[in-house]
Amino acid sequence: MTATTSSATEDLADVTRVLAGDVQAFEGIVRRWQGPLVNMAWRYCRDRGRAEEMAQEAFVRAWRGLAQWRRESSFSTWLFALAANVFRSELKRFPTVTVPFDEAPEPSAPATQQESLSKKQNHEVVRRAVLALPQRYREPVVLFYFHEMDLAAAARTMGLPEGTMKARLSRARDLLRRRFPHLGRLSADLEIAALNQGKEA
């Protein structure tokens, strides 16, 4: 039995118990999905405290609407779609503070002494720039990479056809490429610098 099948079986068993009145059985669901949901929320807002608050809200909504899971799709698909709705509406109510997309700083060239730190910082600049993308392109990017570049899973979470998702993703990448034209070269430089550092060590 694979891990996914096992998780699906456990999810189904826990949902059945919760619907039969066993509140404590919901703990199994939270235990299994707390990591993915907090990480998903983090990608939406890049604020740890807020990510946990939003993930908690998503779990509470899941608890309230558990009977609405029709079991046609997997529990995780239903949970992620519900969480995406919660995160979207939470961020609409209280948007995250981001710099405008055009003002996002260009990643800098690596300093000789601090390649690793510089690399981390530059990557964070790009990740934060995603949050400054226009709304219709931001979420496809967030979900596509959250689902480890599984287009179908991201489309299911957003409730969009795969074609629409693909088009939005392509446009988002164009925007990011235009904003960070030296990203490829810079990334390669950083990789080489990191390798050299490794050899020296």
Binding site: V23, R127, Y145, R177, F180, G184
Partner: protein
């Protein structure tokens, strides 16, 4: 030339893919599970909200609506000619308003009836809710 452009674009794409895919995993804080379960238990303890007793309230709402509608209709029907017939010479004012005032009494009565029906419907709703 074109090939260079394509290669550059692919490199940019893969750099973006690389950065956005390889994020460090965030581990939920130790109290996260407990706080979620606390909220779930709170939710479970909260009694389900009482549905509004539409079947009981509907006759009252219809009656109130009808009375209000009729009152508004009468008010407009009688009020507009009364306003039109107002003369600005003081001796004629009371004579001109005598009949509309009588009609206004009827309108007030209609409003009182609708108020009573609204209060009754509220009372019924209160009884069914408890």
């Amino acid at each position: 030339m074109n090939r260079d452009k394509t290669d550059n674009s692919q490199m940019d794409s893969s750099a973006i893919d690389n950065i956005l895919t390889n994020e460090e995993e965030l581990v939920p804080s130790s109290g996260f599970l407990a706080s979620v379960m606390e909220r779930v238990h709170e939710e479970a303890r909260t009694p389900a909200s009482i549905p509004f007793p539409w079947t009981r309230a509907l006759p009252g709402i219809l009656l109130a609506g009808g009375v209000f509608g009729w009152g508004a209709f009468e008010f407009i029907r009688l009020g507009i000619p009364a306003v039109g017939s107002i003369e600005f010479t003081p001796p004629h004012i009371s004579a001109a308003l005598e009949r509309p005032l009588e009609q206004a009494g009827w309108v007030a009565l209609a409003l009182a009836v609708s108020l009573v029906s609204w209060l009754l419907s509220r009372r019924f709703a209160g009884q069914s809710g408890v």
